[in-house]
Symmetry: C2
Subunit: 140 residues, 2 copies
DNA sequence: ACTTGATCTAGACCTCGCTCCAGTTCCTAC
DNA sequence: GTAGGAACTGGAGCGAGGTCTAGATCAAGT
C-alpha cells in the first residue's frame, strides 16, 4: 500500500499527526485505547517513533473512523490483527458489516441531498420570481 | 409536500414520534431548543397536538440532522422561518452551504468505501486461497 | 371507581470522541 | 549552559445530542 512516503525513517508523533490528519492528542489517545496494532517504539528518551507500518494502519483507522466506525469496533479489529493469523474470517466479517453500513449511509445521504436540493430549488425559484411573497411558508 | 397522511387531525407526540422516527424525548427536546417553527398547540389538558405542518417541518429537520446539520444551524434556520418572509436569501444560503457539505460528505464516504472494499477484497482473496498464510499482516 | 398507559415538567445524567492542562523531560541550536 | 520547542504522563474537561428519572396528570376502557 505504502500510502505515505516515509523512506524507512521512523517518524515523530508530530510528523505522524501531519500525515494522518489526527492530532497529537488523538494519536496518544488512540494508543491508550488500544487502537494500534503493535506497541509504538520509543527512543531512549521515551519519545514515540512511528514506522511506515504504523502510519499505514493509522491511515486505515482514519478511513474507518471517517466512515463512522465506532472506536470500540476499531479496537476489536486491532485486537484481531494483534492476535495474528487465524482470525481472518472474523476480520472480514467486521469489515464487511462496516462496508454495508457505509453503503447504507451513502444512500441515506443521497436521499437527504435530494430533499435538500428540492428545498433549495424552491427558494431559488421563489427568489428568482423577485420576492413574489406567498411561498407556502411554515415548512418552506 | 404532504409527506405524511394526517387527514387534518392533529397528532399526539407519540404518533409524531412514530412518523418521524424521533423519540418522544427528542421531540420535547427539539421544542425546548427552539427547533420548531411555531409553538405546538396543546389540548385543554396540556398535551401537545401536532399539525401536518409541524410534522412536515420535523421531517425536514430529520433529513437535515441525518445529513449532519448541527442543531445550532437548524435552530438558526427555524428562527429565520419563524421571522417570516423577507429573509429567504439567507435561508437559501444556509441550505445551499449545507448541500455542499453533504456532497463533500458523500464523496468522502465513497473514498472510504473504496478503501474498505479494497481491504475486504484482500481478505476475501486470502481466505479463498484456503488460509495460505503470509498475508502481509500488520496493516491487513 | 379503578387500572393502564400515554404525557407532562424540570433537570440530572450519559456516551462518544476527543481536547486540554499541569508539571516534567528531552533535544536541538545558539 | 541555556533557551525554546516538542513530547511525555495522567487525568480532568468539554460539546453535541440526546436519554432518562421522578413524580404528577390526563384520558380511555371495563
Amino acid at each position: 500500500m505504502a500510502t505515505v512516503e516515509t523512506r524507512g525513517e521512523p517518524l515523530s508523533i508530530g510528523e505522524v499527526a501531519e500525515r494522518t490528519g489526527l492530532s497529537v492528542h488523538a494519536l496518544r489517545f488512540y494508543e491508550r485505547e488500544g487502537l494500534l496494532v503493535g506497541p509504538v517504539r520509543r527512543t531512549a528518551g521515551g519519545r514515540r517513533r512511528y514506522t511506515a507500518v504504523d502510519v499505514d494502519w493509522l491511515l486505515i483507522c482514519v478511513r474507518l473512523r471517517e466512515s463512522g466506525m465506532p472506536l470500540a469496533d476499531l479496537r476489536r479489529f486491532a485486537e484481531l490483527v494483534r492476535r495474528g493469523p487465524g482470525n481472518e474470517a472474523e476480520r472480514l466479517r467486521l469489515l464487511d458489516a462496516h462496508q454495508r453500513r457505509v453503503e447504507a449511509q451513502i444512500q441515506a445521504l443521497e436521499e437527504c441531498r435530494s430533499v435538500i436540493a428540492w428545498k433549495v430549488s424552491v427558494y431559488t425559484e421563489h427568489l428568482g420570481r423577485g420576492e413574489a411573497g406567498g411561498l407556502w411558508d411554515p415548512t418552506a
